[in-house]
Amino acid sequence: MYTFSSKLKTFSFILMALGVVGIVAGFLNAPKTIEDVEKLLADSHHNEASHSEKVSHDAHAAHAVEATHAEAKVVDSVKVEAVDSTHAVAEAVDSSAVAAVAVAETHSDNHDSHKKDELAHSDDEHQKHLEHVLHQLQNKPWSALYVACIFFMLISVGVLAFYAIQYAAQAGWSPILFRVMESITGYLLPGSIIFFILLVAASMHWGHNHIFVWMNPDVINPKHADYDKLIDLKSGYLNVPFFLGRAAVFLIVWNLYRYFSRKNSLAQDAASDNSNYKKNFKLAAGFLVFFIVSESMMSWDWIMSVDPHWYSTLFGWYVFASFFVSGITVIAMTTLYLKSKGYLEQVNTSHIHDLAKFMFGISIFWTYLWFSQFMLIWYSNIPEEVTYFVTRIEHYRLPFFGMLALNFIFPLLILINTDFKRLTWIVVMAGTVILFGHYIDFFNMIMPATVGDQWFIGLPEIGALLFFLGLFIFVVFTTLTKAPLVAKGNPFIEESKHFHY
C-alpha cells in the first residue's frame, strides 16, 4: 500500500492555494467598464502601434504613417484600428495574401470612409472596438480557467482510454501499471464536475463569461444587429440545452466506465476466477466504441465551437492525440516517481521503455494530424477556414510555432534513441516538455477565439494551471493510497512482472 507523503501533500496544497490567489487576482483585475479598457489601451498604446507596423503589409505601413499625422485626439482609435484592419488592408491589396477574419469586412468599410472623415467616424468605431476589447479581457480569466481545467480533465480521460485499450487488447505487459492508471483516472470525477460547472458558467454568462459566442441569444435573432446567419444555421446542434445535455451524457458515461472498471479491478484481486476480468474486458470494448464517437463530438463542442464559423473534420483526432500523449506521459512520470520512492519494484526499465515508445510514437502521431490539418487549410486557402491559422500566426506566433518545437522536434530528437527511453531523467525531462507543449496546444485552441490578441500568460493563466496541477496531484495520489499498488488478481500480472524486452 502506498502512503501519501506529507511533503507531496503539502506541495499540492501550496499549488492549489497559489492557484486560487492567481485565479481570484485574474478575475479582480479584469476591467469592469469601457473606461477601464480605454485607460489600459492608452497605457499600452505605444507598444501596440510599433507592433502593428512590424506585422503589417506595405500598404498598411503607409496607413500607419498617415495615422501618425492625425490629430492627437483620434490617434488612439487610429492606432487601435490599425491593428484590427491589418486583415482588411491585406485583402484589398493582395489577393494571394491570407483572407480576412469575420470582422474584417466591416472594418474595411470603416477604413475607407475613415480616410474621408476621420473625426466623424472614429468615435463610433472607437467605442465599438473598446467594447470588443472589454469582452476579450473579461473572457481572459474564464478562458485561463477553462484551458487548465479541460487540459487536466482530458489527461485523465486519455489515461482512461489507454487503460481501456490495455484491457480490450488483453495486453500482457501493462497490468503492473493498472493501479497507477486507475489513480490518474480517479481525477476524472472531480475534474469533470468542475468542468461541467465551467460549461454551465459559460452558458449562463456568469461574470461576463462569453467564451462561446454562439451562446449569445442576439446572434441567432434575425432582428438584432449582431445576427449571424452561419451560427443561426448551426443552432439546431449548437444550442445551450443540447450542448449541456451532450456534455452531461459524455461525462456521465465516461465516469460510469471508470467507476465499474475500477470496481471490477479491485474485486478481481480477491476473486478465485476471472469473471471480473472478463467483465472488464467487455466493458472496455464497449467503452472504446462509445469513446471514439463521444471524444470527437466533445472536441467539436468544448473546443472547436469557440470558433463557431470554423470547422475541421479531423479536429477530434487531433485533440485526442494531444491529450492521449499527455496522459501516457503522466503515467510514465507517476510510475517513475513511485519507483524513485521505492514502490512498484517489479516495474523494470522495459515497462518504462514501452511507455516512452508510446510517448514518442503518439508525439509523432500528433504532429502528423496537426500537419494534415494545417497543410490542407494552408494550401486551399479558403477564407473561412484559413482565418483560424491566420489569427494564430499573426497574434500567437511564439506559442504557435513554439508548441511545434516542444511537441514534435524535441521529443523526436530526444526519444528516438532506444537507450534514452530507459533513462529516468530523460523520460522525466521529455515528459515535462511534452506536458508543457500540450498545455500550450490547448491554450492555442481556446485563447485566439476568446481573448484574441489580448492574450498574455500572466497571473490568471499560471494560477489556473497551478490550481489544477495541485488538485490533480492531490486526487491522484490520494486514490493511489486506496488500493494495493499491484493488481495481483489480474490474470496477466505474472507476465507483466516478468516483462522483459
Binding site: S96, M375, Y379, N381, I416, H500
Partner: protein, 174 residues
C-alpha cells in the same frame, strides 16, 4: 588444433535459450546459432555486441531529408517557379508546408532502403549466395548451435545432451 565443431540441435526456442545461457556459463565458445525465426533476446544471451544499425538508419534519414530538401528547392524554386494555388514559389520557407510530405517520404525511402541494403551486406547475404546453414531442418522447426571443440570431446557431447539437445553431432569443419 582441430577444426572440430559440435552441432547441438534443439527443437524449442526456450530450451535453446537456456542451453545458450548454460553454454556461456560453462565458457564454451558459441560460433554461430541457426534458427528458423528470430529468437527474442538471443543476441543478448549470446553476448553479441549491440547493433549499430539504428545509428546508420538515422544518418541515412538525414541524408534523405537533405537530398529531398535540395531537390525540391531546385525543382520548385530555382529552376521553374510556378504559381500554384495563389502561392508563387519564390522562397523555400514560404512554400515549405507543400514540400513536407515529399521531404518525409524521402527520409523514409532513404532510411528504409539503405538500412535493408546495409543489413544484407553486413550479414553477408547477396543474390545467388549459397546457404550457410549446415542442417536444412533449421529452416523448418529446429535450432542449431555450433560450438567449437576445445578439450574433451566426450565431455562436451554429454554436456550438450544434458542441456536438452535432441541431437548432438561432432563435425569436422573444412
Amino acid at each position: 588444433m582441430s577444426n572440430k565443431v559440435i552441432h547441438a540441435i534443439y527443437n524449442d526456442d526456450d530450451v535453446l535459450m537456456d542451453a545458450v545461457k548454460q553454454t556461456r556459463a560453462a565458457h564454451h565458445h558459441i560460433e554461430e546459432i541457426y534458427t528458423p525465426f528470430p529468437v527474442h533476446g538471443l543476441d543478448k544471451a549470446m553476448g553479441l555486441a549491440p547493433t549499430r544499425i539504428a545509428i546508420a538508419a538515422f544518418l541515412y534519414g538525414i541524408t534523405g531529408l537533405s537530398i529531398y530538401t535540395a531537390l525540391m528547392n531546385f525543382i520548385m524554386i530555382n529552376d521553374w517557379p510556378q504559381d500554384i494555388g495563389g502561392k508563387p514559389s519564390f522562397s523555400y520557407i514560404d512554400n515549405m508546408p507543400a514540400f513536407v510530405p515529399i521531404m518525409f517520404e524521402g527520409t523514409v525511402f532513404f532510411a528504409a532502403h539503405l538500412m535493408v541494403i546495409t543489413f544484407y551486406m553486413r550479414s553477408k547475404l547477396w543474390p545467388f549466395k549459397k546457404a550457410e546453414n549446415p542442417d536444412v531442418r533449421t529452416t523448418d522447426d529446429h535450432f542449431l548451435m555450433e560450438v567449437g571443440v576445445h578439450g574433451n570431446e566426450e565431455e562436451l557431447v554429454s554436456f550438450f545432451t544434458s542441456t536438452g539437445a535432441v541431437e548432438v553431432k561432432v563435425i569436422e569443419k573444412h
